[in-house]
Amino acid sequence: MAGITKELILAQARVFGGTLPTAERAEELAATLNTLIDALDEASAGLPLEAEPSHMARTLDELAGD
């Protein structure tokens, strides 16, 4: 679990400025972020860190067809 909480969102929002989210919206945002980050952590477990965008560009080129 990524561990983003409503309280963390609200605290960061006060630092960021702009429109402050309501408590309900902060809860929604935390849930969204946790879903995305959990998916990322699962998908990227054990993979080495490499530089972008050259690696992506090279892979596109390598896999090109037709």
Binding site: L29, T35, L40, E50, M56, L60, A64, G65, D66
Partner: protein
């Protein structure tokens, strides 16, 4: 006469201008008249530049009279999503914040189209900052669908979808970061290409998510799309992410036989939310490909929720990097729906964003090796549901609206993260009278193959020749 001029394809019209059967002035006058007549119904233009276009058309005709042909688009009027810069001219990006923005440089893609002889008719309506799949825009007014103005025109390239389907222009640029070309193409009954990341320069346009933004065209025929893409594609020193690969002659390969090629039908994910009515139209299109001699193959695809989630991480992070200052200082100048799309990026840890970029190449490799080792091209629905109305997808619609809006990009979003090309092609109409389409996906830089299949399909069907009946 005007209808006859504007119902022709881009390729046919360019040929007639070149052969002096038609003048560019005649064509541009017809375009301007139709644009002015339909603007109150469709609201597809933010800036209609009729006088400027007419002056350019006169110049094009004068040049042709002297034997000078600028290129394969000589004298043909096009209009583009209002986010492609022209030095010294206004580009709004569909926003209030940039309503008076004057760029100091040209978009490479647009410049290449102008250098090839096309005429710039104006800047088209779009979702604010290219964010949103419906065509709602509080700043410039909602864009309407020419098949029925109560329905959405799609987004974010809403005006391009609407103007091309309404036979105002023969084609135009959109941009696609998660489906913003393919969604309005499917919704308006058009052909739309999401290019391979790196095929077309993004220099000189307002970025949304710089590692996923792609430039491409919406047209009525595949042949027209191939021509525009060929003009724009290729290395640009001003965009270091562009590929140095030679650009194939797409038009020369359009008529290559498709018999024996393998067309994949995904066994998982893509049909999870597809309605039966849309699925039936997909089956009909697959039958047409089968009749063309293609082998239809069921194929298991990787879990597409993963690249879709990764694309969301990248999108919100990169969008906030661009919009941070305005989100702090001018939050009220965004539509609530747009601001809420960026908002998660304020709180996304930088390490997670970088990680999402790091696994991108692996996920691309997984997808390509899993799918394209078995088939040449993958066929999916372009849109999973019948086109909804503007009211159904408005913020005021309440419960169910966010899911419906998210559903519009169910089949498109992951491809921008993976970087692969995808071609939307119209394949019929649902019971509400609105168009439906399918999507063809291929290996990186396989645009020629996608055009070949799309052209073969259009050679045995006539969906692309249907004209919306719009009362001005």
């Amino acid at each position: 006469m005007s209808a006859e001029i504007l119902n022709a394809s881009l390729v046919e019209t360019a040929e007639k201008i070149r052969n002096k059967e038609l003048s560019s002035v005649e064509v541009v006058r017809a375009s301007i008249a139709r644009a002015e007549a339909l603007q109150p119904v469709l609201n597809c233009f933010i800036q209609l530049l009729g006088d400027e276009a007419l002056a350019e058309a006169e110049r094009a005709d004068a040049e042709l009279a002297k034997g000078k042909l600028r290129g394969p688009l000589h004298g043909v009027p096009l209009a583009h999503k209002d986010m492609y810069y022209r030095a010294g001219k206004r580009t709004t990006c569909g926003s209030k914040i940039r309503k008076d923005y004057i760029a100091d440089h040209d978009s490479t893609a647009l410049k290449r189209l102008l250098d090839a002889g096309s005429i710039y008719l104006g800047g088209l309506n779009m979702a604010e900052f290219a964010t949103g799949p419906t065509g709602h825009n509080e700043h410039w007014g909602d864009n309407h669908n020419p098949w029925n103005p109560a329905y959405i025109a799609g987004g974010s390239s809403s005006g391009t979808g609407s103007a091309v389907a309404a036979r105002i222009v023969y084609g135009g640029l959109g941009s696609d970061t998660g489906g913003s070309i393919r969604i309005p193409s499917s919704i308006n009954g058009l052909v739309g290409l999401k290019t391979t990341n790196g095929l077309v320069s993004r220099h000189g346009l307002m970025s949304l998510s710089h590692t996923m933004d792609t430039v491409g065209a919406l047209t009525r025929t595949v042949h027209d799309n191939a021509r525009i893409t060929a003009v724009m594609a290729g290395r640009d020193a001003l965009d270091p992410t562009t590929s140095s690969r030679p650009v194939p002659d797409y038009e020369a390969q359009l008529d290559a036989p498709v018999k024996g090629l393998r067309l994949g039908v995904p066994a998982n994910y893509y049909y999870d939310v597809t309605t039966p009515e849309v699925e039936n139209l997909q089956q009909d299109s697959l039958a047409a490909f089968r009749d063309l001699g293609m082998e239809i193959v069921d194929v298991d695809v990787p879990d597409m929720h993963v690249p879709t989630h990764m694309s969301n991480i990248v999108f919100v992070s990169e969008a906030v990097a661009i919009h941070e200052t305005w989100l702090r200082e001018r939050p009220e100048d965004y539509q609530a729906q747009v601001r809420s799309r960026y908002e998660p990026g304020i709180y996304m840890p930088a390490a997670k964003y970088l990680r999402a970029l790091d696994i991108r190449a692996k996920l691309l490799r997984d997808f390509t090796e899993t799918v394209f080792s078995k088939v040449d091209v993958l066929h999916t629905p372009g849109l999973s549901m019948p086109v909804p109305t503007l009211a159904e997808t408005d913020m005021a619609a309440g419960q169910g609206m966010p899911e419906m809006v998210a559903g519009l990009s169910w089949t498109t979003r992951s491809n921008n993260y993976l970087g692969i090309p995808s071609l939307a092609v119209p394949c019929g109409f649902t019971a509400n009278g609105l168009p439906a389409g399918f999507q063809l996906m291929g290996r990186p830089f396989s645009e020629a193959r996608l055009f070949q299949l799309g052209h073969a399909y259009q050679s045995v069907t006539d969906w692309h020749t249907r004209v919306p009946d719009i009362s001005a």
